[in-house]
């Protein structure tokens, strides 16, 4: 059997194991191990299995992942998200649809200290949904606005999916974070605009011009409080990374320590919350690092099979404009994102499509990272998997899933508009990285 055939058969077996609900990390390691064994010899596969797992787990560059995860969970358990919502609520709560817009704003700011999309959706959702219901917002708008807003953290730095993309493609994490800033702000604006449009067209979605009137003194107090904390932590951690003071791991550690220190000083953190945050951090770290270990073994097989090179060669001979090929690849991402979670999606697909998009079609690697992040934000709110939808379902159990799904259309359209704008004006993602 030639290597390409082995690669294709292995991929089919891998997909079959996924259907049977084998953990994705183990499926990748298992198929990768047997594939490498077939294409080389069992001794080589044994060496790959042990050495790749150890070198993944003990890798200094990869230690950035648990640090940013820890930063996010400290912020989550200390209730920073709730306090941010209070600020956004006081700023935008007075206009029609303002509470839903406040949700997007709070999610975007929380995304600056938390790279986890479900954690953002859960933390903001638990306070925003009851508040919107109090003011008779329709459940579809209330729940969908939180689910969509939760995804903003995937684009806005520090973002764990962008870290994984950077590590997979060996691109600068600092530049990837920079590439995420403007698309993140744009997407936040588009989400708010989508809310404004749907509420304008159907005022019953947000019936009263409700919520509190902005009080300048209160706003100033909030500005001095949690918002200033978030700004300082972001400036120190991600800012230090942009300025070249820190490595990504150091930025993550400084961010985590910063959040911990601030929340202790403010009295938001106690021992129980600290342990809960550690629990969530180790759980997510184990999941992601085993996934990376499995993906590394699987990618050995994919390289040996020469599939990425064959695809790149084939694409270069296609009589199609580059943007059509790109469009097809983005559609594949959207489709896969509907059934596979964010991190494995990036780990599985990027080694295959990155050479095609960047080397063959000539797109900017940071732009590609940013647009994948936007696509993933769509995937987390699209059925059937749509992880944020299920998080919201967990927060507001009496809202039927269909109702949540029915409200996401405007947000999906907003995200598609964001993608189109990024294709038309790649500078949205490439401008900031080009400055450093």
């Amino acid at each position: 059997m030639n290597p390409v055939t082995v690669g294709i058969i292995s991929t089919i077996i891998f997909l079959f194991l996924l259907v049977l609900r084998m953990p994705i990390a183990i499926s990748m390691a298992l198929v990768g191990f047997f594939g490498v064994s077939y294409l080389t010899n069992p001794q080589a596969a044994y060496r790959v299995l042990a050495s790749e797992l150890y070198s993944t787990f003990s890798s200094y560059p990869l230690s950035v992942t648990p640090m940013f995860i820890m930063m996010g969970f400290f912020a989550y358990h200390a209730g920073i998200g709730n306090k941010l919502y209070q600020f956004a609520y006081k700023t935008l709560g007075g206009i029609r649809g303002g509470l839903a817009m406040a949700t997007e704003l709070a999610c975007a700011i929380f995304g600056a200290v938390c790279g986890s999309s479900p954690a953002t959706a859960a933390t903001i959702g638990s306070i925003a949904i009851p508040e919107m219901r109090k003011y008779k917002y329709k459940d579809s708008l209330a729940s969908a606005s939180v689910a969509a807003g939760g995804g903003l953290g995937i684009v806005i730095p520090p973002s764990v999916p962008l870290v994984i993309y950077g590590l997979t493609t060996e691109q600068s994490i600092s530049k990837l974070f920079l590439a995420g800033i403007l698309p993140g702000i744009l997407l936040t604006g588009l989400y708010m605009m989508a809310i404004w449009v749907v509420v304008k067209r159907n005022p019953s979605l947000a019936p009263t011009s409700s919520g509190p009137r902005p009080d300048i003194k209160e706003l100033f107090d909030t500005l001095r409080g949690v918002l200033l904390d978030v700004f300082i932590i972001f400036a120190l951690s991600v800012g230090g990374l942009f300025a070249g003071w820190f490595t990504p791991t150091e930025a993550g550690a400084v961010g985590a320590a910063g959040v911990l220190l601030v929340t202790i000083l403010r009295g938001y953190m106690d021992m129980s919350k600290f342990h809960k945050a550690l629990r969530d951090t180790t759980r997510t770290t184990a999941m992601i690092m085993l996934l990376i270990g499995g993906a590394t073994i699987f990618s050995r097989l994919i390289s040996l099979s020469r599939i990425p090179f064959e695809i790149a060669d084939w694409v270069s001979t296609l009589p199609l404009p580059t943007f059509v090929v790109l469009f097809i690849i983005l559609l594949i991402y959207l489709f896969l994102g509907m059934i596979i979670d964010t991190i494995p999606l990036i780990l599985i697909t990027v080694p295959i499509f990155y050479p095609v998009v960047v080397d063959t079609l000539g797109y900017d690697p940071f732009w590609f990272g940013a647009i994948i992040a936007i696509i993933v934000t769509m995937a987390v709110i699209t059925p059937p998997v749509g992880v944020n939808i299920y998080v919201i379902k967990g927060v507001a159990q009496d809202i039927p899933l269909e109702k949540i799904f029915s409200g996401i259309t405007p947000f999906l359209i907003a995200a598609i508009v964001c993608c189109v704008l990024m294709v038309m004006f790649p500078q949205i993602a490439t401008f900031l990285p080009s400055l450093v």
Binding site: L17, L18, V19, L20, R21, M22, P23, I24, A25, I26, A29, L30, F33, Y46, R47, L49, A50, S51, L53, Y54, F57, S58, S59, Y60, L62, S63, P66, M67, M70, F246, T249, E250, A253, V254, A256, A257, L260, H275, L278, R279, T281, T282, R283, T284, T285, A286, M287, M289, L290, L291, I339, I340, D341, P344, P384, V385
Partner: protein
């Protein structure tokens, strides 16, 4: 038996959590001291090795709470009986493969010990960390074994 395995994974997870806190403190201390021209020697090595401990020690606890993500979309459409049979088969394959990993990691650790592989700056031996990861995988496999026993009793993980 299930209780003992789950409690032990829980204990290992505590070690993992504090290993990560140690990484955070070490890195921050190094950043601060570096600013004064006295960086902590071997920080990169310590961080790598502590992260290895953290990941190894948290694998099993992650499995107890279904943290190793899988695609449930198609599985959830199966009948209860088929779900049970599939779970038994899949978990058995996972259990066997985890032991292959444990076996190869142990052999790798012994090779590193016998060839005297140490880190460049601090001269720390690598093999105990590889063995710690092997232990982590071994406990993870025991969690899977508990799940197989549950599957035989008719339990299927949600």
């Amino acid at each position: 038996m299930k209780n003992i395995i789950y409690k032990f994974s829980n204990f290992l997870d505590y070690i993992a959590g504090y290993a990560l806190v140690l990484v955070m403190l070490l890195v921050v201390a190094n950043v601060v001291l570096r600013a004064f021209g006295v960086p902590i020697m071997g920080t990169v090595e310590f961080v790598g090795l502590l992260t290895a401990i953290a990941v190894g020690m948290s694998l099993a606890h992650c499995a107890t709470s279904g943290g190793h993500i899988a695609v449930s979309l198609f599985f959830s459409k199966m009948s209860k009986g088929l779900q049970q049979i599939t779970s038994i088969l899949v978990n058995t394959v996972v259990f066997i493969f985890l032991w292959v990993i444990v076996w190869r990691l142990w052999i790798y650790a012994v090779t590193l010990r016998d060839t005297g592989q140490i880190s460049l700056t601090m001269g720390i031996s690598f093999y105990p960390f590889v063995m710690a990861i092997a232990v982590g995988f071994a406990i993870y496999s025991l969690v899977v074994l508990v799940k197989i026993a549950d599957n035989f009793k008719g339990g299927v993980e949600e």
